[in-house]
Symmetry: D4
Subunit: 204 residues, 8 copies
C-alpha cells in the first residue's frame, strides 16, 4: 500500500449502528477507528467520512472521530445506503486524485462491502479494514470478508494499515509512530511502559 496514493474512507461509524455490532467489542471498534484516523493524519492520507441518516435511529457519528481527525472531510448523503451511490461522495474521492482506498465502517457486509465492490469494479485498489468495522454477527463479517477477498479486495486489520503507513523506524517522526502502536494495541502500551521503567531502574 502506498500512503501517497491512499484515501481513508470511514463509513457510518454511528452510535445507533454500534448497538447492533456483535462480531467485535464496541470499545475495540471505536478505538481502532480512532487509531485509523490518527494514522491517516500522521501519514498525510486524506480522510473522508460520512453517515447514514444521522438524525434518525442510526445516531450521530462517534464524537471522538472528529477530534482525532481534524482535517477529515464530511460528506452528507441523500439517503443512499451505499456511499458509492452518492455522487458527492465519489466526487470527493476523485478530487484527491488517489486510486487506493482504505475502507472501514458499520456494517462490514453493507456499508463497507457495497462501496468496496463498486470502487473495485471502477478500477480502485481497495483495502477493507475488518477490525475498524462491525457487523451483526461473526457469520456476517466472515461471509463479507470472503466475498470481498474473492473479488480482489484486500482484507486487512488496523495494524496492517499502521505498519504499511509507518514502513520504517528510521524516520524523524518515529516516536509518534511508536505511540500509535501503543494506542492501537493495549498490550503494546504495557510493554512500552514496562520497558521504560526497566531502563529507569537500571540507570538510577
Amino acid at each position: 500500500m502506498d500512503p501517497n496514493d491512499a484515501v481513508l474512507l470511514l463509513l457510518d461509524h454511528q452510535t445507533g449502528l454500534f448497538q447492533t455490532v456483535n462480531d467485535i467489542d464496541v470499545a475495540t471498534l471505536r478505538a481502532n477507528t480512532v487509531a485509523l484516523a490518527k494514522i491517516a493524519e500522521q501519514a498525510g492520507i486524506p480522510i473522508i467520512y460520512t453517515a447514514s441518516e444521522p438524525d434518525g435511529p442510526n445516531g450521530p457519528i462517534m464524537p471522538e472521530l472528529t477530534e482525532a481527525a481534524p482535517n477529515a472531510i464530511y460528506v452528507g448523503r441523500k439517503g443512499e445506503v451505499s456511499s458509492w451511490d452518492n455522487e458527492d461522495f465519489v466526487k470527493a474521492v476523485e478530487a484527491t486524485g488517489r486510486k487506493t482506498l482504505i475502507m472501514a465502517g458499520v456494517w462490514t457486509s453493507v456499508c463497507v462491502a457495497f462501496p468496496a465492490l463498486q470502487a473495485q469494479a471502477d478500477g480502485y485498489k481497495v483495502f477493507a479494514v475488518m477490525d475498524a468495522s462491525g457487523d451483526v454477527s461473526k457469520m456476517a463479517s466472515d461471509a463479507a470478508m470472503l466475498r470481498m477477498a474473492n473479488a480482489g479486495i484486500q482484507p486487512v486489520t488496523t495494524n496492517t494499515i499502521l505498519s504499511e503507513s509507518h514502513r520504517t523506524w528510521n524516520r524523524e517522526d518515529a516516536a509518534t509512530w511508536g505511540s500509535l502502536y501503543g494506542e492501537l494495541v493495549p498490550e503494546y502500551q504495557a510493554v512500552a511502559e514496562s520497558y521504560g521503567r526497566a531502563q529507569e531502574a537500571a540507570t538510577k
Copy 2:
C-alpha cells in the same frame, strides 16, 4: 444485486431438518428466513419455495414462512435432494425470466450448495444467504461457504439482501424498510424504540 433481476429460492426450511442445525440458533434461522421473505415481497422479488419429503421425518415447511410470503410459489419435488434436479423447479425459475438467484435453505452444504453450484454452472448469478440457512456443524457450513465462494457464488447474509434491495432511504416506502431492519436485527429494534422515547421525552 439488481432486485429486478432476482428470484428468492427458499429450500427445505422444514421443522424436522431444523432439529439437525448446529451452526446457528433455530430461532435466528427462522427469523432471518421470514425477514428474507418479507424483503422479497416488499422489493417485488418473486419467491419460489420447496420442501424435501414434507410428509416424512424432514417435517413440514415452517408455517410462518407462508404467512410472511403470501405470493410465494410452492414447487413440490419427486424425491430429488437437489431442487435443481427437479424439472418443475427449474422451469418455475425460468418462467420468471430472471437470472439472479438468492438462495437459502437447510442444509447449507446440500440443499443450498447443490442447486447453487448447478445454477451457477448454468449461467445464473447466485447469492447464498448463510444466516437464513443451517447445517449440522460450523465445519460443514464453513466448508460449504468456501466451496461456493471459490466457484463464484456470492456468500452473503440477510442484512446484505435487505440493504441491496432497499438501496436508499430516499423512497416512498422508507418506513416499511425501516421496520424490516428492526425485525431482522433485534438490537436495531431496541435502538429504534429508544430513539422514539427519547424524542417523545424531548418534546413533551
Copy 3:
C-alpha cells in the same frame, strides 16, 4: 416453588439497557421475559414491573411486555437503583400477601441482585431467573449468580419457572401450557410442528 405464594418482579427491562447486555442474545432475553410474563398470567401469579428513569437513556420498557401481561402492575421509582429501596415497590409486593419472589431484570448483578439480596434478608424466598436477565459480561452474571446463590437465593432459568408453575399435564389448561413451552424453546416448537405433521401424514 408454590405458584400460589409467588409474585413475579420484572425489573428494568428497558430498551436502552438492552444495548449493554453481552451475556445473552437480546432476542432471547426479550422472548424469555415475555414467556415469563405469560407463565405468570396463566398461573395466576401477580406481576409487578418497574423501570429505572424510563425517560432518560435507559429507555422505555420493552413494549411487548405490557401486551403479554395485561394485568401487570407498574410501579414508578423516584431514582432508586434498587427497586427494593423504593417504598411503593415494597408495599406493592407486601400487598399481594405472598412471600415467594421470582425476579428477573437488567442488569443481573445490580437490578436483580440488589433487591434479591435485600428481600432475602427480609425473609422472602427468592428465585433469580438468569435467562430473563442480562448483564454487561458473562463474568458479571457468573459472579452475580454465585453471590446470590451463596446467600440462599435460588438461581434458575425460565424453563424452571414454567415447569414449576405447570407441574402436571393432567389439568384442563394443558394445551395452553404446551404452547408456552413452544414459545419459550424454539426447538420445542419445531418438535411440536413435526409431531403434528407426522400424525397428519399417518392418518390421511
Copy 4:
C-alpha cells in the same frame, strides 16, 4: 460429484494419530469415517484405505472401519508420509479407472492435503472431507482447507458426500439411505424416532 466416477480414499485413520486430533471430537470423527465407508459401499464407490506405520506409535486402523467396509482394499506403504508417494497406492487408484477422488484422513494438513494436492495436479477431481479428517488444531485444518480450496480441491463434509451419492429419495434403496442419515447425524436419528412414535400414536 458422480458416484460412478468416484473412489473413496481413507488415509491413516489410526488410533495413535486420533490422540493428536484437536479440531473435532474423536467420537464424531470415527462415526463420520464409518458413515463415509457405508455410503461408499451403498453407492458402489470403491474404497481404498491405508495406514502410516501401523505397528508403531501411530497405531492400528480403527477396527470399526473394516467392519463397515468389507469390500475395501488395503494398501500398505513403505514409509511414505503421503500415500500418493507410494506407487502401489496410486496404481490401486488407477486400477479403478475412476477420476474423482473423495479423501479423508488424519492429519488433514498432511495425510489428506499432500495426496490431494498431488492428485489434483495429476488431473483428478478431488473432494476433501473435512469432518472425517482431523488435525492437531483448528488453525491447522483451517489453513489446510484454504490451501486445498485455493488449489481447486472441493472442501466438503460427510453430509455432502452422502447427499451427492444419494441424490434422490425416488429409488428402491431409499430406506437404506434414510438410515445412513440417521447414523451420520445424531439429531436426525432422534427426529426419525420421534416421527415413528408420533405416527404410531396417531394410528393406535
Copy 5:
C-alpha cells in the same frame, strides 16, 4: 457413593426432548446415558426409568436404553412433570430399600432438579449426573448445577459414577469394567486399541 445403597433414576431421555438440548452434544448425551445404564447393570444397582408423555411431542424413550438395561423397571406417569410427584415412582424407589439416588435426565433444571431437590429434602443422598442430562442452554444447566449443589446434592459426571462403582481393578470382572471406560470415553478406547497393537507388535 456406596453402590449397594444406590438406585439409578433415568428421567425422560426422550427423542423429542433431545431436540431441545443445547448444552451437550446429543450423541454424547445418549452414549453417556447408555454407559450409565451398563454401569448400573454391572454393579447390581437397580435402574428405574420413566418418561413424560411419551405419546406426545416429547417422543419415545431412546431405544438403546432398554437394550442396555434389560433389568430396568419402567414407571409410567400420569402427567406429572416431576417424577417425584408421581406416587408410583416414589414407591418404586422405596421398594428398593436404598437411600442413595443417582439421577440423570432431560432437562437438567426440571426433570432432574425437581425430583433431586424433593428427594434430598426427603432424606435421600442424591447425585446428579450432569453429562447424562441435557438442557436448553448452558446457562440453564449451570444455574441448575449450582442450585442443586448448594442444596447438598452432589454434582458429578458419568466417569465419577463409573469409578465410584468400579472402585478397584483388583476384582474378577475387571475386564468388563475396562471395556466400560472405553465405551464411555472415546479417547480411552483409542488408547486401549493402540496399547493392544503395541503389545502385539512387540511380541510378534
Copy 6:
C-alpha cells in the same frame, strides 16, 4: 455495601503483570480499574494501592490509575506477595476506621485472594471485584472466585460497585454518576450519545 464504611484496595495493577493476564482483555481490565478509582473518589471511599516489586519485571503501576485517583494512598511493600502480610498496609487500612474492603488486583487468585481471605478471617466484610482483576487463565479466576465465595467473600464486578455507591439518581451529583456508567460500559456511552442526538433532532 455501605460506601461510608468502605475502603478500595487496588493491588498490583502493574504493566508487567498485565502481560500474563488471559481471562480478561487488558484494555477492559485497565478501564475497569480506572472506573473503580473514579467511583471511589466520587463516593468518598478512601483508596489504598500498592505494588509488588515495581522496579523488577512486574513493572510500574499503570500510570492512568494515579491520574484517576489523586487522593489515593500508596503503600510500598517489603517483598511480601500478599499485601496483608505487610504491616504498613494493614495499618493504613486500619487507619481509615472502616470495615468493608473492596479489592481488585492482578492476579485474582494470588494478589486478591490472599489478602481477601486473610482480611475476611480478621473480621472484615470483603468484596472481590472480578473484572478489575486478572489472572493467567479462566480456570485460575474461576477457581479463585469459588474459593473466595465459599469463604464468605462477595464476588462482584465493577458495575456492582458503581451501583452500590451510586444507589439513587435522586441526588445532586447524578450527572457525574451518569458519566461514570458511560465510562465503564462502552455500549452505555453509545446509548447516551444516541439519546442526546435523538432529543436534539426532535427539538430542532
Copy 7:
C-alpha cells in the same frame, strides 16, 4: 497454606490417561505438574506420587515428573481407583506428620476428587490444584470443582501454590522463585526476558 504442614500428592499423571483429557491442553497440564513438583522441592514440601495400573493402557508416569522431583516417593497401588483406598498410600502420607494436602491428578473428578473428599472427611485440610489436573470434559471438571468446594476443599491453581509457598521476595532464594514463575507462566518468562534486555540496552 502453611508449606511446613503440606504434602504434595501427584495422582496418576500417566501418558495414557493424558490422551483422554479435554479441559486443558496436555502441554500445559504437564508443564504445570512439573512446576508443582519443583515448587514443592524448593519449599521443602514432601512429594508422594502414584499411578493406576502403569503397565496397562493408562500408561507410565510422565517421565519429566521424576526428573523434576528427585526426592519424591512413589507408592504403588493394588488396583484401587482412589489412592486413599490404598493403605500404603495413606500410611506414606501419615508418615510425614503433616495435615495439609495439595492434590493434583488425572482425572480431576475421580483420581483427585475421591481421595480429596476422603482425606477431607478424615480431618485433613485439602487443596485441589485444578490446572495440574485434567478430565474428560470441562463439564466434568466444573462439576468436580463445585462438588469439592462445597465439601470444604480449596479449589486452586498452580500459581496459588507457587505464591503461597513463596510468600515473600525478601528471602535468600528469591531468584529461584523468580525463575519458577517464568517456568509456570510463559508470558511471565517473556516479560522477564524483555526486562533484562531493556536494562542491558539502558546501560550499554
Copy 8:
C-alpha cells in the same frame, strides 16, 4: 515443497512482541518456532532470522531459538518494518540460491504478510506458517491468511513443514524425525511414551 530449494525465514520472534499476541498461546507459538528451526536444521534448510529494533520495547529474540538453530544466520535491519525492505536481508536470501521461502513471524499480518507478498511478487514460492506466527487478534490473522492465500501464498502450519521435509520413514534418520513429531505435538509425545511402555510390559 522441495526442502532442497527452501529457506526458512524467522521474522521478529521477540519477547516484547509476544506480549501482544492473542490468536495463539505464547507457549505454543514459541514451541512451534523452535520445532520449525530444528526441522530446518535436520533437513538442511538454511535459516535466516531477523529482529525489529531488538534494543527497544519489541525486546530480544527468544533465546531458545538460537539454541535450536546454531547454524542460523542473523540479519540486522535498519528500522524497516518489512524485512523485505532491507537490502541485506534480501541479499542473504538470494545468496542461498533457493526460491522457496518458508516464513513465520510476529505479527502475521505485518512481519509475515509484508515480505511474503513482496517475495511472492518477486517470483518466490512462499509458505506462511500460521502457528509459528502470532497476531493481535484472531480477526487479524484470519484476514492475513485469506489475503496471503488469495495472492498465491500457501497457508500452512508447522506439522505441514515437518511432514513435507520428512516425507518418508524409510530413511536413516527416521528416529530423529520421530522425536521431532513428539516435540511439536504434545499429544504425540504421550502416544509414543505409552507405546514404549506397552511394548516393555508385553516383553518383560
